[in-house]
């Protein structure tokens, strides 16, 4: 089953529950073989599978929207803090990074994962999520900024002052 690892790890980070992620992957492959006649040979199979997965994910999310914590993604008050000067110190583990990512609202998290981990182009992300290219760019920018802010908070919880580290680095240089 091609690309299962990529799909599963993305699903796992968006749904936070292994069994839900497995169900989503199962639905994705089931949908894929049912609609394989629509797949154009020569196009990107990986992007096509991600597109199916996100379609099913968003469909399920819409049904649960009322019960979920919804963040107004275009609410400027939430996002207009200045970007933190974040360093990823050695003290910050992979688990810390993933925990910080989980705190980023899912609408931003999914784009950060698609762009920075799966390395899809903006155009592929826009097609996968069925949103305009401009929305991809603005959500990615905000998602990355939110992640930097979360990591800065993690660094502070370890007693690391990101700004001080920056100043030290600048002096050393």
């Amino acid at each position: 089953m091609p690309h299962l690892t990529d799909l599963f790890r993305t699903a796992r980070l968006l749904l936070r529950d292994r069994h839900e992620a497995e169900d989503l992957i199962q639905d994705t492959y089931l949908e894929a073989w049912k609609s394989f006649h629509r797949f154009e040979l020569g196009t990107n199979c990986r992007a096509w599978l991600f597109k199916i997965m996100f379609h099913r994910l968003h469909h399920a999310r819409r049904r649960l929207a009322k019960a979920s914590r919804v963040i107004a993604i275009d609410d400027p008050d939430v996002h207009e803090e200045p970007a933190a000067e974040t360093v990823v110190a050695q003290e910050i583990s992979d688990e810390d990074v993933l925990n910080a990512l989980e705190k980023v609202a899912v609408e931003f998290r999914e784009i950060v994962l698609l762009a920075d981990v799966e390395e899809f182009s903006y155009k592929e992300i826009a097609e996968t999520l069925r949103i305009p290219l401009g929305t991809v760019m603005s959500r990615l920018s905000r998602g990355r900024k939110l992640l930097r802010q979360e990591l800065a908070a993690v660094a502070r919880s370890y007693g690391i002052d990101p700004c001080a580290k920056r100043a030290d680095a600048a002096e050393t240089a």
């Binding site: 394989f36 040979l41 199979c45 990986r46 360093v87 992979d94």
Partner: protein, 299 residues
């Protein structure tokens, strides 16, 4: 770099580009504008570095998280056990699902192979782009070479013992080209260091560039050309208006970049690659291991 050139309006504009710069989504002209700004603005350069560190940490954390072995089997079992949701009669469903599953797996394997080929091409392009970027930023836009060639001693002093020995190889193996400059440089916003020879000949500028592989590797199959009796694979591409030929040598990637035509550049690369490869391997054997970090200490 200097803070003296700090211009908050300019910085604000450039920082709007940083996300797209990081994703390699900017047009070449805009990317060059960003690079020029980063060269003179320490604050924005630090901001980009910070963003790159966060992205790298995220990639590492996600990829390092293991995917349980049982997931694949669980999903396959679930697929087999799935109840039909279609218009088909129950008696035909099992056969239909079985045949469709086989067809899907075969076709998706074909598609996966195609995707794998495409990703390999993208990988080659991204590695070759390292050389093109340094040639454009340092030699072409930065014009980091003198009109009259620096003396061999000056160049060797700039390169140090490990890379100074390569000067003779570059000079001898590029007929019709004169080495104007040799130094170790980097591109703003990146920690990567390049050993860079800038040469002039045939009415144009040609760069020979080395950079450490840092664990990355070019694919071992489907090489475009082979030099040195088949033991050295050379890749080529046309990127950002430049012809580039690249190969892997020990712990380095080596590139020959210019706006010459494809045939001319490949001939030069094929002539240079074996000697450069041999010298790099000899140097690696002769110099003690602690000297291998020399590239990282420069710049």
């Amino acid at each position: 770099m200097s803070n003296l050139s700090f211009d908050s309006t300019r910085c604000e504009l450039m920082r709007q580009y940083l996300d797209s710069y990081l994703s390699n989504e900017l047009l070449v002209e805009t990317a060059s504008e960003v690079v020029r700004h980063l060269e003179s603005c320490e604050s924005c350069s630090r901001d980009l570095e910070s963003r790159m560190r966060v992205r790298d940490a995220l990639q590492r954390a996600v990829v390092n998280r293991p995917v349980p072995e049982s997931v694949r089997a669980d999903v396959l079992r679930s697929l087999r056990e799935s109840q039909p949701r279609s218009f088909m009669r129950p008696s035909t469903t099992r056969w239909a699902i079985g045949l469709a599953s086989i067809a899907f797996i075969l076709l998706s394997l074909f598609a996966a192979n195609w995707t794998s080929l495409r990703r390999r091409e993208q990988l080659v392009a991204s590695i070759l782009k390292l050389g093109v970027s340094d040639h454009i930023v340092c030699a072409i836009k930065g014009h980091s070479y003198p009109e009259v060639a620096n003396s061999p001693d000056q160049i060797r002093n700039k390169l140090g013992v490990r890379y100074g020995v390569l000067l003779q190889v570059v000079q001898e193996r590029l007929p019709g080209f004169e080495v104007l400059e040799g130094h170790i440089c980097s591109i703003p916003g990146s920690d990567r260091k390049y050993v860079h020879f800038i040469t002039h000949g045939r009415g144009t500028i040609l760069s020979v560039i080395l950079t450490e592989r840092n664990g990355a590797a070019l694919p071992t199959d489907k090489l475009l050309l082979r030099a040195d009796s088949g033991s050295l694979g050379i890749y080529r591409d046309h990127l950002s208006g430049m012809e580039i030929a690249g190969f892997e040598s020990g712990q380095y990637f080596a590139f020959v970049v210019s706006d010459l035509n494809q045939k001319e550049l490949l001939q030069l690369a094929l002539g240079l690659a074996p000697a450069l490869n041999e010298t790099l391997h000899t140097t690696a054997r002769l110099l003690p291991p602690n000297a291998t970090t020399q590239l990282a200490k420069h710049g």
